[in-house]
């Protein structure tokens, strides 16, 4: 699963999906994760990066990241690798 290529993300956490016209907002952690997903970092890398900068245990971050990706999937912001 990857982030769809055409999704626009602003520095302030505003997310726009041009194919549906829907917009979203993400918080700071969400924004960092989104930007890394866009650069095709693996979830492993993302978790390691967040763990370095924030007060949280690895399993918590892992679980939250998976949940976050699930939510983006429900909002149709993700696509399969080969799409």
């Amino acid at each position: 699963m990857n982030l769809k290529n055409n999704i626009a993300i602003s520095d302030s956490g505003f997310v726009f999906n041009p194919s549906s016209g829907e917009s979203f907002s993400v918080n700071q952690i969400g924004l960092e994760m989104l930007n890394m997903l866009r650069q095709k970092f693996t979830t492993e890398d993302i978790v390691t990066h967040i763990e370095k900068g924030f007060q949280a245990e690895r399993p918590t971050i892992e679980r939250d990241l998976n949940d976050f990706i699930d939510m983006m999937n429900q909002y149709h912001l993700m696509q399969d690798e080969d799409e």
């Binding site: 829907e22 993400v26 370095k52 918590t60």
Partner: protein, 453 residues
């Protein structure tokens, strides 16, 4: 060393255009970090989580404001603390220090009031279940007995004969005040003549001293006018007694039931903004009495058994987040260590719940569950909260009425209750339960003592 930033769950939220928040404001989840200047974090560290916290200052302020609301409108006013609303001794005694009598509805509550030092003659004994033993005690102590049904009336007459005491009594009257449902299961009905009939029975036999008239029209009442109707109907009975028997009753007891500042489940607007104030209830009751045809030489004492409106907002329940979970339909749920076993009023109210630490402005719609392994254990079925992490603390507001009496020892043990006094000193006024406390009441037959597994 690099200091790491505070972690918050990642969250993505769809922006709905032209869809403002239901209340047009976002104050609900402003963090509350202190109660009476004491940090919530410190309270939980010292006394555990969950924890009930009561403010003595707030109770006294509520009481004084209510007293003033009535006394500026009527010459003779007396409050009687409704024990069932919160009968922790420390709470009762704050009300007694302020001048409140006691209003009790069982032998257990009666004995509690006596042990607290309330003179028998300042105890109002209500309710359908008073045993012969309870009644004998109350008669001997000169307490004010509010008769609920004819069986009780006859029993009191027998006790009067056998003890040579003249019990001081009132009858409880139920009536149509224009609100639904009518509480017609307690006392004698006004409209169908039962109440007048009971009063005649008391006056004719002469073994009881009729001192008052009582009603309690319902609880969490949102209509001051219903009280005006009720007061007028009691004044009518008083007037008829005056005419027929030249008998002046000494008091009119309007019961309790004023809505507190809580929000009823399903209400569209928060109760803080919409529920009538004590002044509105006071205005309705006192004008109805003053404008009635009842013209005694001495105005009867006006008794109020106000419960929840005096204590609800003087107590908080502190708790902690156990876990976060995503439900199958995509909704967020948060499990906290506060369940309906200790927050009984979650069945009635959409309690205000706030975080006890600072957050960014991101929020999520959340279902707030208690810790019990039971489907009914829901504290809020839909609440907007910041992104709480495991271990974060929350505050449930306005929990002073009925929770510390209707709570259940179910699945887990009940927590401590602390009181913050007027100098901000914290006192444990009820300790947490232990397994030993529970086992003390149990007994195991010998043949069940052992087993092999």
């Amino acid at each position: 060393m690099i200091t790491k930033k505070r972690y918050e769950r990642p969250v993505i939220k769809k922006l709905e255009s032209n869809m403002p928040n239901k209340f047009g404001m976002r104050t609900e989840y402003e963090p509350v970090l202190h109660i009476e200047d004491i940090a919530i974090k410190d309270l939980i560290t010292k006394y555990g989580s969950p924890l009930f916290v009561i403010s003595e200052k707030k109770i006294r302020r509520n009481y004084q404001a209510a007293k003033q609301a009535f006394e500026t409108r009527y010459p003779r006013v007396q409050f009687a603390w409704s024990y069932k609303t919160n009968y922790l001794n420390a709470v009762c005694n704050i009300f007694h220090q302020e001048g409140s009598w006691a209003e009790v509805v069982s032998g257990f509550e009666y004995d509690k009031a006596i042990r607290n030092g309330v003179p028998g003659s300042n105890i109002i004994f209500n309710g359908p279940d008073k045993s012969e033993q309870d009644l004998r005690k109350a008669v001997t102590n000169n307490s004010l007995i509010h008769i609920d049904h004819l069986d009780e009336l006859y029993l009191l007459q027998e006790i009067a004969k056998s003890t040579k005491h003249k019990p001081k009594v009132a009858i409880r009257v139920n009536m149509d005040t224009g609100i639904f449902p009518i509480w017609d299961r307690f006392g004698f009905n006004f409209e169908n003549g039962q109440a007048w009939d009971a009063l005649n029975k008391i006056m004719f036999t002469g073994t009881l001293e009729l001192v008052g008239l009582h009603t309690h029209i319902g609880t969490f009442m949102l209509s001051p006018n219903a009280y005006a109707v009720a007061a007028a109907k009691l004044a009518n009975l008083a007037q008829r007694l005056h005419q027929k028997y030249d008998h002046e009753i000494k008091y009119i007891d309007m019961g309790g039931g004023f809505a507190s500042r809580n929000t009823l489940k399903g209400a569209y607007l928060p109760g803080v903004d919409t529920n009538p104030t004590i002044d509105e209830f006071a205005e309705a009751i006192t004008s109805a009495l003053i404008n009635s045809d009842f013209r005694p030489k001495n105005p009867p004492l006006l008794i109020l058994e106000t419960g929840r409106a005096l204590i609800d907002d003087a107590a908080w329940l502190l708790g902690s987040v156990i876990a976060n979970k995503r439900l199958a339909d995509g909704r967020r749920s948060t499990i906290i260590d506060i369940g309906v076993n200790i927050l009984f009023t979650a069945f009635w109210y959409a309690h205000k719940v706030t975080p006890a630490q600072k957050f960014t402005s991101y929020t999520e719609d959340t279902v707030l569950y208690g810790p019990l392994c039971m489907n009914i254990d829901v504290i809020r079925d839909n609440i907007t909260l910041p992104l709480l992490n495991k271990g974060d603390q929350v505050v449930v507001h306005h929990v002073g009425a009925y929770n510390m009496t209707q709570w259940m020892q179910f699945i887990t043990l009940r927590p401590k209750v602390v009181l913050i006094d007027q100098n901000n000193k914290v006192h444990v006024i009820r300790n947490n339960e232990t397994l030993e406390n529970m086992l003390e009441l149990e007994a195991l037959p010998d043949h069940l003592a052992n087993f092999d597994l």
